[in-house]
Symmetry: C2
Subunit: 366 residues, 2 copies
């Protein structure tokens, strides 16, 4: 199990420099580090080396890899074919080749997350530094286990309870037909079988994301007011996918404003803006990521005894946070991120009796 | 029908400034302009106004809108429910509410593209300026009609030819069963019915994208070598989704290098880096977008007579371009974008007899 660390903020190249310096810092401490980046040429230029979709050693303890969707899609296609052959008696995918597959929106994120998951599970790395887009697309990527598991729990139950689901599970005519197409006995109960595999995968992802020792982000900003505003926006938005933000990396400018108030209670670490290749001053100024991350508020705390849920939502004011309860779960909307709160059995299905927003916390009572 | 204009490049805030100035320029020429941006707070700060998911007038002839996925998802959900009710006899979606839906990776792009399509079709705007992520995610978004239509044509035929497809279309037992679940007569022929609607939508999207008078992008860069490299990378990548890049906007720096050679045959337009609010010097330095776009090479030219396809692929060298023919179509891979070339009947299914890469062109002979 690795520490997965990423950086959020508006300034693209500065953010990649911080990611490289962070990777070098952890490697110098004896950790086995993987630096994983996008397909665009930023990392290769900054590192002065060509990179590919296979990790390569660029320094002692330090490997680097790019995550191009087209290559990852090709590699994952064979796995998907095996899954299809397992569940479907007459597979269709076998006649389509990985080399002709085109990436659709969202695939980049799903494939990159899957690659990170596999590198994490390989046991080869103590830390994975992900140099992604650093914006809300990175949050969608890391939030995928959280958001997808909502779709699974919501639509599976609806399907099982629907006329369609009932007809399939009860009809003596349809069962043998389904068996002739699928390799599974698809009753409502056994409908759980394929989804359980998915659920296990999603639960592991959610557990990792909720654990600041496993996954954390740091904000990167200069004192440009727009960059600061975007960093604050991403800080709040990150909480909505249960991503812990451990601190702020402030790139020094001609004038370096004090940003402590904007990001309290996070530590603001001022670092120099270094030229490519001259990494040491930046490395020396970086904080202890794990230590700072351990001190910040958790995105969500559920207090069953007092029937309260406390959500840490910094960077937003009261008007920007919306609470609804239209479906079976409580929905919180902030920063273009919607979150359905999966409650423990003691609180499930209870109506919300009160809610207040104060000191960056949304406190919901049941 | 509007001109849809977007900007690609690494420098986030500078790119948004150019988008704003472009919108103001076109509005000052009497065009009805919509400026559409991301949910993050960059545009509201630069424009010194709050924005929402509904267009609002911010100057004469100029409206601005944000495209937050959560709001767009909610609005589109009702449409999806209607579609489901049309094709499925026992709808499941009706019990799920738009307000609880969570955005998954890719939805942001699909929803933003759909919103742009609707604003375009509304007839209310002569130009739509899309201030998106400006990176490969924007290319996936604009390339969606191209990439999705490949999936439709590839998998539809495989399904129709498969045992599963044949059993469904030929079995006297399964037809009535399907009719009891679906409102369509799902034979192999009629399988075309729902996909034809999709195809029509995709064909219109592809036609718009392939027409530089309808959709165009401009590159935005400083003379920072990494920004230049990323701009060149995006220039080549854009061709792979048939997006015409009309020219370069170079933000002046302390030293302004001559980038003409890097981007030939595009025009390089040097503009000043303006402070927020002081838009006029930037507006005055912007080019005539439509005129410059009309002069650049087309992403693809198909010469049936000489059995040749010419792809304009600038920004890549020979080693970065890959040509394969594993499936029924010819696949070209460059810049993490894969493109399957949909050929006219005279060339369909022919084997590639030769290929060469020279002067930024990949020339394929059949």
């Amino acid at each position: 199990m690795s520490l997965i660390l990423t950086f959020l903020g508006k300034g693209g190249i500065a953010r990649s420099k911080v990611a490289i310096a962070a990777a070098k810092l952890l490697a110098s401490q004896g950790k086995r580090v993987l630096l994983a980046g996008l397909a665009e040429p930023v990392l290769p230029i900054l590192l002065e080396t060509t990179l590919s979709a296979d990790p390569q050693e660029i320094a002692p303890n330090l490997q680097a890899v790019q995550l191009p969707a087209s290559v990852l899609l090709e590699r994952n296609w064979e796995e998907l074919k095996k899954l299809e052959a397992q569940y479907l008696r007459t597979p269709i995918f076998k006649e389509v080749y990985g080399q002709e597959l085109v990436a659709l929106p969202g695939m980049d994120s799903a494939l990159a997350l899957n690659a990170i998951r596999e590198y994490d599970a390989s046991g080869k790395y103590d830390a994975i530094i992900y140099d992604g887009t650093g914006d809300s697309f990175t949050l969608r990527l890391l939030g995928l286990p959280e958001s997808l598991s909502w779709y699974v729990r919501r639509f599976r139950q609806l399907f099982v309870n629907s006329d369609l689901g009932k007809t399939i599970s009860e009809s003596p005519l349809i069962q043998p037909l389904i068996t002739s197409f699928f390799n599974v006995n698809w009753t409502a109960d056994n409908f759980a079988q394929p989804t359980n595999q998915v659920n296990d995968f999603l639960d592991k992802g959610k557990a990792a994301l909720a654990d600041p020792k496993r996954v954390a982000a740091f904000l990167v900003t200069t004192n440009d007011p727009i960059e600061v505003a975007v960093a604050r926006y991403l800080w709040g938005s990150a909480q909505q996918v249960s991503l812990t933000v451990g601190g702020v990396i402030q790139i020094a400018d001609q004038t370096t404003a004090d940003l402590t108030a904007e990001f309290a209670p996070l530590a603001v670490n001022v670092v120099p803006d270094v030229k490519q290749g001259n990494w040491q001053p930046l490395i020396d100024a970086l904080p202890n990521f794990a230590e700072q991350t351990s001190k910040v508020p958790k995105p969500i705390e559920i207090d069953v005894h007092n029937r309260q849920v406390r959500l840490f939502l910094p960077g937003f004011d009261k008007k920007q946070v919306k609470l609804t309860q239209v479906g079976p779960e409580v929905t919180v909307e902030a920063g273009d991120q919607r979150r359905n709160i999966f409650l423990p059995p003691a609180l499930t299905g209870r109506p919300v009796t009160g809610a207040k927003f104060q000191n960056n916390y949304l406190i919901i009572s049941f």
